[in-house]
């Protein structure tokens, strides 16, 4: 009698187990179905971010310079050389940098090229916000003073 009771209990337990195992399996599959795509999405997002970073890293400073020089040549500018030495014509510099001047025009075009090359635009605008306009005469004086202190 007791044995029968035990058997019935065991059978009941095994029934529970039989039900429990598939339930756990279904639960695990469901969890997997929910989480794996999310993890994949995150991984995909991360890999795309890494790709973007490596693309940026792949742009060498030499190719950025080459792009700048090519642009300068297209605009008919050989270089960004200016005259600021004492006794030389300082207005040449201000004229070149004034709106419509050759260097100002080149600089404006550089902005577009920088965006194409993927240079950090946020950083450029942060710097731009520091000063409404660069006082080129003061900057030239600062350079002259600094040059005088070269040992």
């Amino acid at each position: 009698m007791n044995c029968n009771k035990k058997n019935i209990k065991m059978q009941k337990n095994s029934h529970h187990l039989i039900l429990l195992v598939p339930s756990i399996a279904i639960a695990l599959v469901s969890i997997g179905m929910i989480f794996i795509p999310t993890v994949n999405q995150n991984a995909a997002a991360q890999s795309s971010q890494q790709q973007q970073q490596s693309q940026n890293a792949n742009i060498s400073i030499a190719s950025v310079s080459a792009a700048a020089r090519n642009l300068a040549q297209k605009l008919g500018i050989n270089s960004t050389e200016v005259s600021i030495k004492p006794g030389q014509n300082m207005s040449e510099l201000t004229q070149k940098l004034a709106p419509g001047g050759s260097l100002a025009n080149f600089q404006e075009q550089l902005k577009g090229l920088g965006q194409q090359l993927g240079l950090n635009g946020t950083l450029q605008s942060q710097l731009g916000q520091q000063l409404p306009a660069v006082n080129i005469t003061q900057l030239a004086q600062k350079l002259e003073q600094a040059s005088a202190f070269i040992p």
């Binding site: 940026n56 890293a57 742009i59 060498s60 400073i61 030499a62 190719s63 950025v64 310079s65 080459a66 700048a68 020089r69 300068a72 500018i77 050989n78 270089s79 960004t80 050389e81 200016v82 005259s83 600021i84 030495k85 510099l93 070149k96 940098l97 260097l103 080149f106 600089q107 404006e108 550089l110 902005k111 090229l113 920088g114 993927g118 240079l119 950090n120 635009g121 950083l123 450029q124 605008s125 942060q126 710097l127 731009g128 520091q130 000063l131 306009a133 660069v134 006082n135 080129i136 003061q138 900057l139 030239a140 600062k142 350079l143 600094a146 040059s147 202190f149 070269i150 040992p151």
Partner: protein
Amino acid sequence: MKVSIYISIIGLVIVLGVFTAFSLFQRNVNAAQSTQTYVILGWGGKTVGLADIVSDGHQTTITASTPYIPPQGKTFEAWLVDGNYGASGYPLSLGQFDEKGILRYKSNLVNAYTYTDLAVTVEPKDDADPKPATSEQVGVAVFSSPYGK
């Protein structure tokens, strides 16, 4: 006999004179110093600074100034770049601008005239990476002759 000795001595003196004059001329040619000032144009549409470059092809002194302050935890670093076709593309770090926005560089280079540009990037302070952060480039100065050989 005596005449031929005199002629030989005079000839030797002339040869020595020509040789000395030629070598002095060569030395002067090599020592010709170029002094140039460049505007460092900003990629953001504003002038980033000015750079003075004095070089005889070897002894090179560069002074640069900027009115800008780098973002917190960052520093401005200047680079000489040889971006010519077939060049190494290797950027030479000139160091960082000081807190007053001044950079001073002096070196005895093998050939300063191979460089084509000066670039300014924003790098983390005490940066462990020796390469330039290309995408963080804020300014460029394009060199003229005798540079870019």
